[in-house]
Amino acid sequence: MEKDLTNVSTNETEDILVVKNLKKYFPIKAGLGGKKMTVKAVDDVSFTIKRGTTMGLVGESGCGKSTTGRTILRLYDKTEGTVLFNGVDVHSLSKKELRKLRTKMQIIFQDPYSSLSPRLPIGEIIGEAVREHGLVPKEELDDYVTKIMLSCGLQPYHKDRYPHEFSGGQRQRICIARAIALNPDFIVCDEPVSALDVSVQAQVINLLKDLQDELGLTYLFVSHDLSVVEHISDTVGVMYLGGLVEVGATEDIFENPLHPYTKALFSAIPMPDPDMKTDRIILEGSIPSPANPPSGCKFHTRCAECMEICKTQVPEEKIMENGHMVRCHLYND
């Protein structure tokens, strides 16, 4: 097993992350003494991310996009499937090995208010993990934190201040600084700009892009804000009820969406342009409960182009041109 550890940093393949048939089920109990059920939060998800690129993951709330991100990092244990990070199976590592790998994969959470400890000064928040992992010699730690803060647009003299003294945008910068201080290869950004004001969102998006260019980072960008995802991502995956319905290059997905769900989702984005009156496809009803998903294609209950086969058979992955994957019976002939 020791051999694997050395591989962690040396085994640099082009595909930094390979997710194969990942499943994550949560057990729930319906009411007091009710029968046990499982929520299939992530159900058979497969994708790969190339080094140095950004993959966007979009979908409605409850579709499992955040759970996917967290299961990849092994913040949740998987139910089935594999996650290969730099060729190493994340879910088969021992605690010790995982701890070492943690520095290479980081996460930025949605809410910069609850994800920072209110009792620690921000210099400590940023430097704590670096010291714990012994990434820099003790005497250089202070300078290192200064360097990281500067690269994230924070003033180093703020080091002794506490999180409550900062605005939302500043706090999100602190979260980003905390993540990149460990010199990671891969960061899961879980709705990083959703809690921020419109005028501040652009600052954070630009910072993430600059850091990517500088450090060659790879992002998994989870968001429900489709225009932000379109702006930042190289590839996009669309999720519905725990499963990926469509994956492809950003231009392909946005200009030529194939799956009826993707079409409806994109047509629902309100455009900041009064003359662009798009023909909105209004989906009926809301997303079904993941504890009791529909049979066959999970989207068939809301789909305008639903056929008989959709109600019974789960559609297979179909690869169209340019590696554009879609799971829909409309394209299976």
């Binding site: 409605e60 005028s199 501040v200 662009m276 989906l283």
Partner: protein, 337 residues
């Protein structure tokens, strides 16, 4: 008076303050606006810009520490800030109602949907209990809630977010108000559900002919819904005009910055141009223009003096010194600033 017909709601130089432990916070600082019957006015701004407080001031449902300090709110020509509490109670619900951002917390969890709807109807109309029940079912049908007879007996937790927001809209419209204030009605909802709710509001406006005041931070929602738009920053109006004025001919530096900073189809491959700095702290307002500390084009005068509202065209007004500077330049006067 002919004016009465023209505007259903007129707000003139409204000031609202909150008296907190840290001093007086002037959340709304001289707002003026007009609303024509059956039209939609959008109020857009960041958090803390005073857009929600403006809406609450119109309804006079401010928190205890809040007070309208000056200005007038005219409904059909009458100044309602002078009205008694009893008159206001009549006004709310039957003439003007509001839907809130969060449908999860604005419904009472211990009463059924039906009883909450009936309460509003019984309070504001002279219908009896049986008629109120029928009206409740009718309203739920109108807003597209399926199986309304069953829903009236259900509790809020049994409905999804989108359904609850529909119930809120049904409740707001049950007494056929002339004005509907929607305070971030879709912010807590998914895009697909948001599209449903926006479509519903537009449909209902066509059917019932009420005027809508749409309060939101989402420029996309504003663009697709509103006839007129008011952009707010730091408790003041930056700019107001038709949707075309604001989106195609923005005149205030803040509006311009805001439009530059959002990802759109035409700037997908470029870097976004963010507005620098952080949103304003109302306890510590600058002397001059509220946006001046974050403005790239700020001049000396911006620091010292509040810009006056300047009329650019019949429909378009902006409060920015840049416009006045440009005017001078256009007139060919060599010296300005």
């Amino acid at each position: 008076m002919s004016e009465e017909v023209k505007y259903i709601l007129e707000v003139n130089d409204l000031h609202t303050s909150f008296f907190t432990e840290n001093g007086e916070v002037c959340a709304v600082n001289g707002i003026s606006m007009n609303l024509e019957p059956g039209k939609t006015l959008g109020i857009v701004g960041e958090s803390g810009s005073g857009k929600s407080v403006t809406a609450y001031s119109i309804m006079q449902i401010l928190a205890e520490t809040g007070k309208i300090t000056s200005g007038e709110v005219k409904y059909c020509g009458e100044d309602i800030t002078k009205w008694s509490e009893a008159q206001m109670t009549k006004f709310r619900g039957s003439k003007c109602s509001i839907i809130f951002q969060d449908p999860m917390t604005s419904l009472n969890p211990v009463f059924t949907i039906g009883s909450q709807l009936e309460e509003a109807i019984l309070l504001h109309t002279d219908k009896d209990k049986k008629q109120a029940k029928e009206r409740a079912v009718e309203m739920l049908t109108l807003v597209g809630v399926n199986e309304p007879e069953k829903r009236v007996k259900q509790y809020p937790h049994e409905l999804s977010g989108g359904m609850r927001q529909r119930v809120m809209i049904a409740m707001a419209l049950a007494c056929e108000p002339d004005i509907l204030i929607a305070d971030e009605p879709t912010t807590a909802l998914d895009v697909t559900i948001q599209a449903q709710i926006l479509e519903l509001m537009q449909d209902l406006q066509k059917k019932l002919g009420m005027a809508i005041i749409m309060v939101t931070h989402d420029l996309g929602v504003i663009a697709s819904m509103c006839d007129e738009i008011m952009v707010m920053y730091g408790g003041r109006v930056c700019e107001r005009g038709t949707a075309d004025d604001i989106f195609y001919r923005p005149a205030h530096e803040y509006t311009k910055g805001l439009l530059r900073s959002i990802p759109k189809t035409d700037n997908m491959d470029e870097k976004l141009v963010p507005i620098g700095g952080t949103p304003i702290n109302l306890l510590n307002m600058p002397e001059g223009c509220a946006f001046c500390p974050r403005c790239d084009a700020a001049m000396k005068i911006c620091l010292k003096e509040k810009p006056e509202e300047y009329r650019i065209s019949d429909t378009h007004l902006a409060s920015c010194w840049m416009n006045i500077k440009e005017l001078y330049e256009a007139q060919g006067e060599g010296k300005n600033e």
